[in-house]
């Protein structure tokens, strides 16, 4: 009995000390930029004339979003994530929202966590069908006419899932289902930030739907902020 008390009195401060260390808010991080070299294929024009309710929502010509570039050879829509070195996180309860608006997917690439709620919304005046072509997770295909409630789902395994609408063949997107909360999707300037990383050795993976995958090993000591770049080889087709 006395022994137990001693263990508890000694153990509690030790545990709280360890907890303090691992939850240090100003931990290190990885940030950087994704660019391309070479000549990317020109985005193709999308003809929405068969879907007037969508066509009229766009004042500027709409092009495919398979490869979206920004100033200074920056590459948009690249998922940058910690593929090894970080523990699997429990999923947030906040849903990841995938919107269908103007017969386009917003965002084009949606990254979220395993078991995180996914919410698919139709903001158009036309019927869409949402068809995530999962291979590792379950493949489903649901119709979503205008004015119907959001479709709620979740995925229990990590996977990059192509999403399409069969009614509107130009609509293509991706669900990036990831194991932990350390991920970012590059913006139009190609930048990304993975904050709050405790010291450690990490594998950082960058994924692009047309140009494939790259990885880098990054070691963070203390609360170091590392800067890295990914350069993808653009394919002209």
């Amino acid at each position: 009995m006395r022994l137990k008390v001693i263990v508890i009195t000694l153990g509690l401060p030790l545990i709280s000390f360890v907890a303090l260390l691992s939850a240090r808010p100003d931990g290190g991080g990885i940030s950087g930029k994704v660019t391309y070299e070479g000549t990317p294929a020109k985005p193709k024009a999308i003809d929405m004339s068969k879907e007037p309710s969508c066509a009229k929502q766009h004042t500027t010509p709409i092009t495919t979003e398979t490869v979206v570039t920004g100033p200074g050879n920056s590459l948009e829509n690249v998922v940058v994530y910690i593929s090894a070195g970080a523990p699997d996180d429990s999923a947030p309860s906040q849903p990841a929202t995938f919107d269908q608006k103007g017969c386009q997917y917003i965002p084009h690439v949606l990254a979220f966590q395993v078991n995180q709620p996914l919410k698919v919304v139709n903001d158009d005046q036309t019927s869409h069908n949402i068809h995530p072509l999962a291979k590792i997770n379950r493949e489903w295909n649901k119709s979503q006419p205008p004015g119907t409630p959001p479709i709620l789902d979740k995925y229990d395994k990590p996977e990059f899932i192509p999403v399409k609408c069969n009614v509107h063949p130009w609509m293509h997107g991706t669900f990036a289902v990831l194991k932990n909360s350390h991920y970012a999707v590059s913006g139009n300037d190609g930048s990304f930030r993975l904050p709050n990383l405790p010291a450690g050795k990490y594998t950082v993976t960058a994924w692009h739907e047309a140009y494939g995958e790259q990885t880098q090993e990054v070691t963070i000591s203390g609360s170091e902020a590392k800067n890295i770049t990914f350069v993808f080889k653009a394919k002209p087709y």
């Binding site: 291979k135 295909n141 649901k142 119709s143 119907t148 009614v167 063949p169």
Partner: protein, 297 residues
């Protein structure tokens, strides 16, 4: 360990290794429907006699009839890729989209065959043999070991066929935009029809209602109702279970029957007895063939 025990364990290991392609460890896969119980080991014999020419040695749909060979090196013998059992994605189910089919669903599919494809109706083999095949087919995918089939969707009793029901079905056909793929007259020639691909990126045609009386997953109104609610997984046909009410589903069934202008159904007869229906049916000249050729897209 005694020599006898070693010999026994070696034998068991060898036996386990021989159980390709399912690599079944632990219990043998079975199928259950009603009083029938199918056994994978019996099904395996049948599979490698009847099925593997199309569905392949590994059950991945890449049998020699699909692979490009012989006189037509650029084109496979079949124009629709046989089902890949490894993916465990099946068109004809009684279960919600994204879930595994029941054993009975698979059993029915083998017996029914798939209209407008090269999959025949396997009524030439016995019920027990079909049950055995289902048990073996399930061993190709690990999903059947880790997941349970979905809960079958409920099909409420079919209401009486009325002109109002057909008319409402017609409105729903417009509103739900079925015509985008199936065409305004259900001939499979809608504006999106020519762009459709299945989940293997193979071109696929929407169903042409104007020919024949059967659907991909059965011939009855009950089967057609199920198709709306489950969707045909692996194809562009989605599930409408979350977006239409059961009575709307039946109205659609009644209207779709009137699109089958060569099939004398009670729905077609009733619709033809009205002025609007008679004009509509008369205006629909028959063209096209069951394989879909000759249809203008």
């Amino acid at each position: 360990m005694s020599a006898h025990k070693i010999a026994k364990s070696l034998f068991l290991t060898a036996a386990a290794l021989l159980t390709i392609p399912g690599l079944v460890t632990g219990q043998q896969m079975e199928s259950h429907m009603g009083k029938l119980t199918g056994h994978a080991d019996s099904g395996k014999q049948l599979y490698f006699r009847f099925c593997w020419g199309c569905h392949g040695f590994r059950g991945d749909g890449s049998g020699e009839n699909w692979l490009a060979t012989g006189n037509y090196p650029t084109q496979p013998y079949l124009n629709i890729q046989p089902r890949n059992f490894d993916a465990a994605v099946f068109k004809c189910r009684s279960t919600p989209t994204g879930t595994l089919p029941t054993d009975e669903d698979l059993y029915n599919s083998v017996g029914r065959g798939f209209v407008m494809t090269n999959m025949p109706s396997w009524i030439s083999i016995t019920n027990q043999q079909r049950a055995d095949l289902v048990a073996f087919i399930k061993s190709f995918s690990p999903r059947f070991k880790s997941e349970k089939p979905g809960d079958p969707i409920k099909v409420p009793a079919e209401p009486k066929v009325t002109v109002e029901s057909i008319k409402h079905g017609q409105e729903l056909f417009q509103k739900l935009e079925c015509w985008k793929c199936h065409g305004p007259e259900g001939r499979g020639d809608g504006p999106s029809a020519s762009t459709l691909t299945d989940s293997n990126d193979q071109p696929i045609r929407p169903y042409n209602f104007a020919v024949g009386s059967r659907f991909k997953c059965g011939a009855t109104n009950h089967d057609l109702y199920k198709i709306f609610m489950t969707g045909l997984d692996g194809t562009p046909m989605p599930s409408f279970a979350d977006v239409i009410k059961p009575e709307d589903g039946w109205d659609l069934v009644h209207f779709l029957r009137t699109l089958q202008v060569t099939n004398k159904s009670p729905e077609l007869a009733l619709w033809e007895s009205t002025k609007e229906g008679a004009e509509q049916i008369a205006s629909r000249k028959i063209h096209g063939t069951p394989t879909g050729s000759g249809i203008n897209q």
